[in-house]
Point group: C2
Chain length 257, copies 2
DNA sequence: CGCCTCCGTTTTATAATATAAAACACCGTT
DNA sequence: AACGGTGTTTTATATTATAAAACGGAGGCG
């Protein structure tokens, strides 16, 4: 039994709203769709519960709800961020011969949503889907540093600064100072704070609305960054971030190369 | 019996998609929501039918559909266009002491979605909700002129160029030329083509995506526009259009004041 | 003042409908 | 060739959506 009637009807209701009828009454919908008032009311109640419609408290009229906007924005972003970033990530990986990751924030941890292995990688297991601590990773630092004050408080509420290596930052105060450094420099570094012998660099990705929605990181054995060899990598990484952000529709001060 | 289970479940499915899971398999959804595969499949089929999800032909995976974007865009616009335009329309009406209308296209006719009477109006009945022919009104000309070729063909398919007054354009060829003039001048004029003794001017309103979604018109007894008295009105009307478009998020070549 | 009508909502009995198990068909891997 | 995985279709069951009617509040009008 394909096509579920009630669901079908729910979406037919959503389709009824247009420029001519930005607001609709139960009885109007009822007559337009030839459905019982009661049926329409139940459907609307369910739609309202999920914020796909909202109801004017005074007039009782219904109109479309903000969940549509929220879902739509996510769709636009997700179409963008991964597929658009891909090419740049591959290029970055090739130029540096290092592993590159695309990470987003999920609650109190970062989550890998894409990765490109270095062409010369020995171990090639994928971290995609795996979680990484905020306080001990470059990507985590970036994603939190660029949050709003309010969001950051929420993220770090009751956060456990668990010691990962000898170099891990293990208290809130030091971490706050680290976040400040990230904002000042425009990139984050994890110097063997998460995994002995591994150093990571990360930069923010801005979406079309100017918010930082992802971070790109580059990982290497710490020896790879000895002396001044880290600077060209930071430069390339920043360029990649700016390229991806621009592709996502971000149009702001991306001047400082 | 409030809250319809199947509809509720359909929206729970839509909520499952996020940055971590931009694509989901039937079986994944099934396990995440503790529903039978078959149930999920029926729900997805219905969602797919309405383009709220789409399915990758190769992998079979599901992701969110473009209908969400379409509905969201409409919502954003409808929130905007009428309420945002209002103030500008009132100001225009006061400055010119004339009646001002906000009109959108609906099939083969324009529809008044708002109006502001001139402060000195004698007859004050509202045209809101009423329809107006495309070929004999300034607003109609504007709304069709700024459509894409494809949309315009659809709009004018089997169109009946009904004679409204002695001056009405009554054939397709003349109308095409008139549309060209509208695009060139940036505004449309209805010189007693719809109603004897009444002349209207209209300009396009661009939304955030750059599409013309509405038109603003100004109506007066033809005598009001004798000699050069029409020019300052056109200028004011254009300014109003640019103001409203800008408020709607339109950001393009609005240079030529 | 009370009647009347229209609204959205709630209730309730009925039967239509959504549900889930199982079988199916397909693909890739083992 | 057999298995484990996919999405899909079928079918029988009973859960579930449905619509009629009753409710209660709001506004208009005599």
């Amino acid at each position: 039994m394909p096509i579920i009637q009630s669901v079908d009807r729910a979406f037919k209701i959503l389709d009824l709203f247009n420029e001519l009828n930005p607001e609709l009454k139960v009885s109007e919908i009822s007559s337009k769709l030839s459905l019982n008032k009661s049926t329409v009311h139940s459907l609307l109640k369910t739609l309202k519960e999920h914020d796909y419609v909202r109801q004017d408290p005074d007039s009782g009229k219904y109109s479309l709800g903000m969940k549509l906007v929220e879902r739509s924005n996510f769709l636009m972003n997700s179409i963008d961020v991964r597929s658009i970033a891909k090419q740049s990530l591959v290029e970055l990986s090739m130029e540096t011969s290092l592993a590159v990751h695309l990470v987003i924030l999920d609650g109190q941890a970062g989550v890998y949503i894409d990765k490109v292995d270095s062409p010369t990688a020995i171990i090639g297991y994928s971290r995609v889907g795996r979680r990484v601590p905020i306080h001990s990773s470059a990507v985590g630092k970036v994603l939190v540093a660029y949050q709003s004050q309010e969001e950051r408080n929420e993220t770090l509420k009751d956060y456990d600064y668990k010691k990962q290596t000898e170099k891990t930052i293990t208290n809130a105060q030091d971490f706050q100072e680290e976040l400040q450094r990230v904002l000042t420099k425009g990139y984050a570094i994890d110097a063997e704070e998460n995994e002995p012998g591994v150093t990571c660099l990360a930069i923010p990705i801005y979406d079309h609305s100017g918010r930082v929605t992802a971070a790109v990181s580059i990982s290497a054995p710490s020896t790879r960054f000895s002396g001044d060899r880290i600077h060209p990598v930071i430069s390339k990484l920043k360029q990649t971030g700016e390229t991806i952000s621009r592709k996502l529709g971000y149009t702001s001060t991306l001047s400082h190369a």
